[in-house]
Symmetry: C2
Subunit: 200 residues, 2 copies
């Protein structure tokens, strides 16, 4: 199946591709909408993923997939959560880059004994006017005290996975897809697509 992906984030497309073998993932720009953009003003990951997928479906009428993800820190009650990409740039301040954001989050969490955190990913697929699949999955980990690793993107260098004894930024793309929030959500969505093709 051809799926449009409502994202301008090239990293996300690179991660999603291998999760949907047998499907063709395209960007809005590939179907004549290079300026596709939408305000993510929801209060939950599911809401934001739906906002993006619905906007792309309204524009194209084709099956539209969107991802919304973030990092939830337990000791911060799930923050930065849906605001992860904008962390530290509230109130109109300039958007921080990943290195600055990671440093700020670690500084703000310095005093926390409870280091539990989880990456969260909501994937929403609009198939047609009334058919929708949504999967929200997680990758639980622990907040490091300093960044580690060069791979991945965003908060990957400051999240440690005890079972693998690595930060997320130290994983290969294959390893990351096996355990990540986006990998888990993507595989479940692919499972739904396989079932959809068997029983439309």
């Amino acid at each position: 199946m051809e799926l449009l992906v409502a994202t301008g984030n090239a990293h996300k497309l690179v991660e999603l591709g291998p999760l949907f073998p047998g499907h063709l993932l395209k960007r809005p720009a590939d179907v004549g909408h290079p300026a596709f953009d939408v305000e993510e003003n929801g209060t939950t990951y599911v809401e934001n993923a739906l906002i993006k997928a619905r906007a792309l479906y309204a524009l194209t009428g084709r099956p539209s997939l969107a991802d919304d993800s973030g990092l939830a820190v337990h000791a911060m009650g799930g923050a930065p959560g849906v605001l992860s990409a904008r962390y530290g740039s509230e109130d109109g301040r300039r958007k921080l880059d990943s290195v600055e954001r990671n440093a700020l989050l670690l500084k703000n969490c310095e005093g926390f004994e409870d280091r539990r955190c989880a990456f969260v990913c909501a994937l929403a697929l609009i198939l047609d006017e009334e058919r929708i699949f949504i999967i929200q999955e997680t990758c639980p980990g622990e907040l490091l005290r300093a960044p580690r690793g060069e791979g991945g993107f965003g908060y990957d260098p400051i999240v440690f996975l005890p079972e693998l004894d690595k930060s997320v930024a130290e994983l290969s793309q294959d390893e990351k897809n096996r355990v990540s929030h986006r990998g888990r959500a993507g595989r479940r969505m692919a499972c739904l697509l396989a079932e959809l093709e068997a029983a439309p």
Copy 2:
């Protein structure tokens, strides 16, 4: 897996049971919450299903499943939709029973040549704090001119399925589960649960 179902509607529980073989479906009353109730004030089926599932999960901390469903009439832009159960009883008027609601809807649709409609069902499952599965599926049909059949509930007697040459109220429970919005959504959700047990 044991699943709590956020519904007071016995019909829905009867329909959902066979869709989840190998799982144990329980009502809030079965786990000590006979008065469980929540205001469904969302504007979409997904939102309402999530409101109910989240409320039950917040109360119990156990995997919580909720259904929100309705009838979307094409010529009415998808109405009555999420307001299907309250159709005709807006502005504080007394709630109509199914027979009255069906009669009112058919009367209000008398002039429509376009009889297309679709039952829509959103199922939301909250597994834990951050893991959520949502499936919204449909059962497309045509609005009859007068009720037919004694089975089912709600709008079933006024929706005709051309492929089966029957109204939804003329289907056996097995037939209904095979083609209905709730049957389709339930089977996809069961497929996700099977995959979840294979790959937690």
